[in-house]
Symmetry: D2
Subunit: 171 residues, 4 copies
């Protein structure tokens, strides 16, 4: 996305993560949401009331952020209560492409089949991707696939610092 065309738009950070997650991963996602909101950015996710999606939106709203959810279903059923703007696609996993195209930076928070598709689609669209709490095999594969587009973060704060570098031209 050419930032100079729309200098005043707030950056949109896409957080992709599995619908089923460990308590530890949920904690990371919630912290990520808080930090994204505090940075003044918009949080975009898959929008479902499950796993990383629910946690990142809860975190973002706890810090006064704005949240967008791109839903796979054809109505609002199953949307996280912490999504301000539910986008209803009715297109299942094909909506994963919208998730990443609409994000200025993509953070994978944990790994799963849907998340893997989102990382690959983000790289196809030449988006910056940050891997947080992803297994070694995912890191190796996506670094090979995406080269310099892929970074690995060890904690939410590091992921957000990488986002800040990526969107600094928005300011």
């Amino acid at each position: 996305m050419p930032p100079l065309d729309r200098p005043s738009r707030r950056p949109i950070i896409g957080v992709m993560g599995p619908g089923a997650a460990t308590p530890e991963l949920l904690g990371l996602a919630e912290e990520l949401g808080r930090l994204i909101a505090r940075a003044g950015w918009i949080t975009l996710s898959g929008g479902r009331d499950a796993g990383v999606m629910a946690a990142v939106n809860r975190g973002a709203k706890s810090a006064g952020g704005l949240t967008v959810g791109i839903l796979p279903n054809g109505d609002c059923r199953g949307v996280s209560a912490h999504v301000d703007i539910p986008i209803i696609t009715a297109m299942g996993s094909a909506r994963n492409n919208i998730n990443v195209l609409s994000s200025d930076v993509v953070i994978a928070c944990g790994m799963g089949r849907g998340v893997a598709a989102e990382v690959a689609l983000a790289l196809k669209a030449e988006k910056k991707v940050i891997l947080l709490a992803c297994p070694a095999a995912a890191q190796t594969f996506f670094r090979e696939l995406g080269g310099d587009l892929v970074s690995v973060a060890d904690a939410p704060a590091e992921a957000v610092a990488l986002c800040a570098a990526a969107v600094k031209n928005f300011k």
Copy 2:
């Protein structure tokens, strides 16, 4: 959409209109955007920097509203400068279905080929549709197709009053 599940969400009003429009229609669209924003609702449109889409977003922002644009292209090129949240679909006119599914009420402001598809898709999804500044043949056809789902408004204020009735259960 079942409003009781998410009582605190702000209603999303979808305004669909042609990319090429007369000055009179642009005036109606801009007024519509202002009134939607003043009602405290979110404005959703096709997001392009053209015709009714540009005008309704300009009106909404002039009254401090929040604007969402569902873009047909694969990047931010051509997005209206008055869209706060551009959703990048890369799916051309198939995004018209997302436009209407994501709207609690759909207003057709003027008529065209894309707008006609949006009205038909909205009716398919059992959404309330308000026709503003639509030709007689469109009114006749869509009333026959949609029955009680379709209303005709003579001015932006009447369209917004019809919206208010449709979303009153949100409050």
Copy 3:
């Protein structure tokens, strides 16, 4: 679609019609399928085992034709048994745009909300559309919307003759 690029491809005729239909309309759809198959063309439809979709595919197969169905669901459930090639989109009514973009000519056989969306999307894509067994209000509206792109046929044979004229450059 530029026919000269692919001179040997067989024309694809899209037949769009409601999932709920009268016996008379089903008879027209079945005859349409037979005539399309006899002309050597491929029949494309929404693919469901219902109404006009089921009838046109049955007709096409009874005359040895090849049938493609573009399904709204995420798996093969509900596909017409007379579809040779089910395309599984999992994108609901957004697949209507694929239906018309993949068709060299679009025939609306009867009218309904989904069909109306397909006719409008076909016109948006500058496709030839033939209206068969459509109510007067639909004829008036779509002729106004589509101009020379829209023809009205009184019987399946006339619809097929109009198709033949439209795809003659394929031969």
Copy 4:
């Protein structure tokens, strides 16, 4: 897909591969297309006139097969000349989900960003995936992600033998 519902349908084998490929990979893809056609199956691909997509369709047609291409663009430009049935999606990489949902078995012939998305989406939909000529890091990652759904083949003949096992209930 429940094969028992439609016992007479011919299996559809999806071959996913990069648009830029080495001569060696193109040779594998062409052989794969020939073997799929000889088995009496339909070949489905991304449909573009590039790389593995072009090669697998050329191979399939050389053996008298039937070929379906699911195109990312909004018209027939760039379609492989060896595609019998071009499906025009106008939805860019979101069409990757259609590619895999419409395939009874998915073969990844080589690896790339689009292919990686297709493998992940196929696993999300619980489809069998066969990896042919994929790097070690891809094999490790996708086996971890997909478990028993993922097989690795060393040659086109082995990939086709794995397909035969997967679709044997169709006969």
